[in-house]
Symmetry: C2
């Protein structure tokens, strides 16, 4: 079973690595990081690079696609090679999935027409015109269309466990959860705007602006 | 503030990338992946490579060290360059930390003598002779010694949020949690041996054996 994870400049690392760490433990799974060119691709912070091992045009078909998000998705709001590849893969996948603003790629590829979908909470307005309706759910599966979108960054771990269960059964998915000791105990409960409140949303917005290379 | 994350052959990706994704969002933080040689380093599955951007000997001092774990730690049970580097960094760090079997590196470097410490649940027996006592806690902080060990793989996210709060205050840590939408909703509750039960522990053991390249 081939799982392809496309990378692009300024992707968000955990969007890709969370699902990788779950799905690589599925018996018989092979994960390949793909992109327009082989070699290292830098994340949104430029402080981490993951290697692309295969070009998009080298992958004719795969079983699962996981499209990560990140600021780099905003440079791909018009259809291009990645969207074409995702649409072509989707003809044969068991599951075509996204994490965070990876859903903007699925949407621009035309895969979310008429479907409920999700993304990072701060990007709902960008996703809205590309799908049927946005939802705040952490995982939005459409088994008939073989499409799953997940919410921001860390939600890819939850999505991948759900996916593992669809592919290999609940017990294998639970064994993988045990293997990565995913027994979350965050020291705070601020993982959504509703839980965090407007003051933390504002604090975060300032931190994100400070983090842009142009402003730093 | 410099955060150094050492990589080595057959590390576990999420051990490193979970803390990276949290700590890179700390205002003013710079994260550098370090290793014996620069260039790509493969994870335990060989299906993912992260680039080492600086050699160990190029880093004279740093503020935070995060040592990931993985099967590769078992090739470093005798003191070597990484242990020497960790011990030298620890003289000047604000926090020296580990995720999963990264604690075996801290232990072999002599940093856990007389201290409670933790690791992946399946590696407690290996850690025991290298520390004061093992504990099943997800995060084991020793503020006086500036050392934190965390449990298996995904626990690095919880540990890094705790660390972010120590460094920049609770509100910044909570804003980071919001930024990565860390509002965990795993589809199952099997993240520890106690919750998963002995049958899943056995199922996982079989899956791990199947995954070893020598057996596959």
């Amino acid at each position: 079973m081939l799982v392809a994870i496309p990378l692009f400049d300024r992707f968000t690392a955990l969007d890709a690595v969370g699902p990788y760490e779950v799905l690589c433990r599925l018996p018989g799974a092979e994960i390949t990081f793909v992109g327009e060119r082989t070699g290292p691709v830098r994340t949104d912070t430029a402080m981490l690079a993951i290697t692309v091992d295969a070009r998009l045009d080298e992958i004719d078909a795969c079983d699962v696609v996981v499209v990560p998000g990140g600021p780099g998705t905003r440079a791909m709001l018009e259809p291009g090679p990645l969207h074409e590849w995702v649409a072509r893969m989707h003809e044969g996948t068991r599951w075509t999935t996204s994490v965070c603003t990876g859903s903007l790629i699925l949407g621009t590829a035309g895969l979310l027409r008429g479907l409920d979908a999700t993304t990072h909470w701060a990007a709902m307005g960008e996703l809205a015109p590309l799908c049927g309706a946005t939802t705040g759910s952490r995982i939005v599966p459409h088994p008939e269309q073989r499409i799953v979108t997940a919410a921001g960054v860390s939600s890819g771990i939850d999505m991948a466990l759900w996916l593992a269960a669809q592919i290999a059964g609940d017990d294998v998915a639970r064994a993988i959860q045990l293997g990565i000791e995913y027994d979350p105990q965050p020291p705070f409960d601020a993982g959504s705007p509703a839980k965090a409140g407007p003051e933390l949303v504002e604090l975060l917005a300032g931190m994100v602006i400070d983090r842009q290379p142009a402003a730093g």
